[in-house]
Amino acid sequence: MKCQHCEKPATFHITELIGAGGPQEMHLCEEHARAFLNKDSSGPVATIAGQLSKQLKLGGKNPAEAEIKECPVCGISFFEFRNSGRLGCPYDYTHFEKELEPLLLNIHDASSHTGKHPKRAAVAAEAQATIIRLRREMEEAIEREDYEQASTLRDQIRKLEDAGKS
C-alpha cells in the first residue's frame, strides 16, 4: 500500500479517533507519519502538498464514473490524479477542465492567470498534445512488436516536430 501523501510504501497505519467526522484511518510512510504525529507538538507543519492532498481526499475513496474517463493524450484518469496529486500532461488542464476548476478555486481562490505570458506567439497547443499522444502510441506499438505501425507513427511525429520548429 502506498502512503496517502507520496509514492513511498505506507509503513504506518494510524487511526485517528478524535476529530470531526469520527474515527479516520490513515496510511503513511515514515516521513509523513512523523510529520503527522508531530503536528500538534511542534507547531505548523501544514505544507502546500499536504493541503492539496487533503482537498483531494474530500472526493472519497472510490472512483466515481466521471473520474474513470482518461485523458486521450497521456492516458491518466482523474482518479489517478486524485491519488497522486500530479497531472499527466499539459492537455489534462483542458480535458479535465470541469473537474479541475473547483479545485483551482479552492487552492488559489481564482481560476484565471493574470501574470506573465510567453513572449513568442503560442504555437498550436493541439499539435503539441498530438505529439505527446503519438509518442505514447508509438511506444505501445513497439511493445506489441508492431514495428510497421511504430515507424508510421515516428514519421508523423517527426513531421509535427519539424513543423513546430520552423
Binding site: G43, L52, G88, L104, D109, K119, Q128
Partner: protein, 362 residues
C-alpha cells in the same frame, strides 16, 4: 555550458545564500525565487517513460547550449553523481531533495556564482531558481524573469491562455512562481511567539517552511516565508505580498530580542556564551546540535553579546558542518559517528584561536 562533474571548489566557499550580506542580513538570510516550467510537447514527469526523460534532458541541454549568456554555466548530470555529491548540492540549495532522490535522466545547470540554477526533470521539466543574499526580492525577480525569457527563446513552454504556465501539480499553475525569503528567527522561537506569528501568516496566504523546503524540520531557527498561491495574481503582486510580511517579521524578531535583553541580559549572555563554549570544546557533535548552538551564537553576535566571532564565519559553519560538506572538505567518506568527531574538530579549529577570521577559513 561547461560539462564538469566535479565541483570541489564550491565546498570552501559559502554560496550566495549564506554570504551574509545585503539588506537586513542579520535576520534575512536570503531571497529566493523559483519558476516552474514544462515543455509543451512532452507529458509531465510522472507520466514520462525512461526514454521521454532522456529526450527531455537532451532537448533542454541542446537548447540551453545555444544560449551565449549561459556559456560559463556548469551542466551537471545528477544521475551520474555519487550520493554525497547529490547531498552536497541539496545542502547548498542548488538542487532540491526531490531531484536528488529521483531516478533516471536528470540534471542541473549551475551559475558559477551560484546565484541561479536550472533543474531539469524535477517535478516539472524545468525549475529555474535565483538566490540573492539578504532581502532582495525585486532584483532576484529581475534576474529570473530575464533568465526565463532567455530560455523561452529556445523552448516552447506548456502554456494555457486561461491557466497560464502549466505545471504537474495544480498548486503551482499560473505563474509557477514561488518566492521564499529565508529568515533567522531565534528570539521568536525562544519567546515562544513563533507559532502565533505563523498562524496569523496562514490566514493571509503566506506559508512557512523549514530550512530545506516543504516538509523539512525547522533547523537552526531558519524559516522560509513563501507565497501559497500561484494563480490569479501577477508575479508583482505575489512578490509584494511576501515582501510586505517580511519587515513585520523583522520587527517582531527585533522586539523579541530586545525583550530578552531587557528581561534578563545576564541569562541571555550566559546562554549564548555556553552555546559558543560547547561548539568550541565538544569532542563529538551532531548536525542538529551544531545548528542549534550556532543559531544561539549568531544571535549573540548580532546583539553584541559575543564580540570576537564574525557573523560570516558562523554563516559558513552552518553549511560546512552539514554531512556532505564535511565529507567534501575532509576529502573522504565518513560514517555518522566519524562525522560527529570531525565536525567537532572543524568547529574547534574555526571558532578558537587564530581560525576565527573569515579569511582563515580553508
Amino acid at each position: 555550458m561547461l560539462r564538469d562533474q566535479s565541483f570541489d571548489e564550491f565546498a570552501g566557499r559559502c554560496g550566495e545564500w549564506l554570504r551574509g550580506s545585503g539588506p537586513e542580513s542579520d535576520i534575512v538570510i536570503s531571497s529566493r525565487i523559483r519558476l516552474a516550467r514544462n515543455l509543451a510537447d512532452f507529458p509531465f514527469i510522472r507520466r514520462c517513460s525512461d526514454e521521454d526523460r532522456l529526450s527531455i534532458e537532451r532537448e533542454i541541454r541542446a537548447r540551453l547550449d545555444k544560449l551565449q549568456p549561459l556559456a560559463k554555466v556548469r551542466y551537471i548530470d545528477v544521475d551520474a553523481l555519487s550520493e554525497v555529491d547529490r547531498q552536497f548540492l541539496v545542502e547548498r540549495q542548488l538542487i532540491s531533495r526531490e531531484l536528488a532522490d529521483a531516478d533516471g535522466a536528470r540534471a542541473v545547470a549551475i551559475d558559477p556564482n551560484e546565484q541561479f540554477s536550472v533543474m531539469i526533470n524535477e517535478e516539472d521539466h524545468l525549475r529555474i531558481q535565483v538566490m540573492h543574499s539578504g532581502l532582495d526580492v525585486v532584483s532576484a525577480w529581475d534576474q529570473i524573469t530575464a533568465l526565463d525569457d532567455l530560455i523561452e527563446s529556445q523552448i516552447t513552454y506548456a502554456y494555457h491562455p486561461k491557466y497560464g504556465y502549466l505545471t504537474a501539480c495544480p498548486t503551482n499553475v499560473g505563474t509557477g512562481l514561488r518566492v521564499s525569503v529565508m529568515m533567522h528567527l531565534p528570539a521568536l522561537v525562544l519567546t515562544q511567539q513563533i507559532d502565533k506569528v505563523f498562524r496569523s501568516l496562514q490566514k493571509i496566504s503566506v506559508t512557512v517552511r523549514g530550512l530545506y523546503g516543504e516538509g523539512s524540520q525547522y533547523t537552526g531557527d531558519f524559516y522560509q516565508i513563501s507565497n501559497q498561491i500561484t494563480l490569479g495574481k501577477t508575479e508583482g503582486d505575489l512578490l509584494q505580498e511576501v515582501s510586505e510580511v517580511v519587515p513585520l517579521l523583522i520587527d517582531y524578531e527585533r522586539k523579541a530580542r530586545q525583550f530578552l535583553m531587557k528581561q534578563g541580559e545576564k541569562d541571555l549572555h550566559d546562554d549564548v556564551s555556553r552555546a559558543l563554549g560547547i561548539l568550541c570544546t565538544a569532542k563529538k557533535i551532531s548536525t542538529e546540535e551544531t545548528m542549534h548552538y550556532l543559531s544561539k551564537v549568531r544571535m549573540g553576535v548580532n546583539l553584541g553579546l559575543i564580540e570576537d566571532v564574525e557573523v560570516n564565519i558562523l554563516n559558513k559553519l552552518f553549511i560546512q558542518t552539514q554531512p556532505a560538506h564535511l565529507q567534501k572538505i575532509r576529502g573522504r567518506l565518513l560514517g555518522s559517528s566519524d562525522r560527529n568527531i570531525e565536525r567537532a574538530n572543524y568547529l574547534h579549529q574555526h571558532l578558537t584561536g587564530h581560525g576565527k577570521r573569515e579569511s582563515d577559513l580553508n
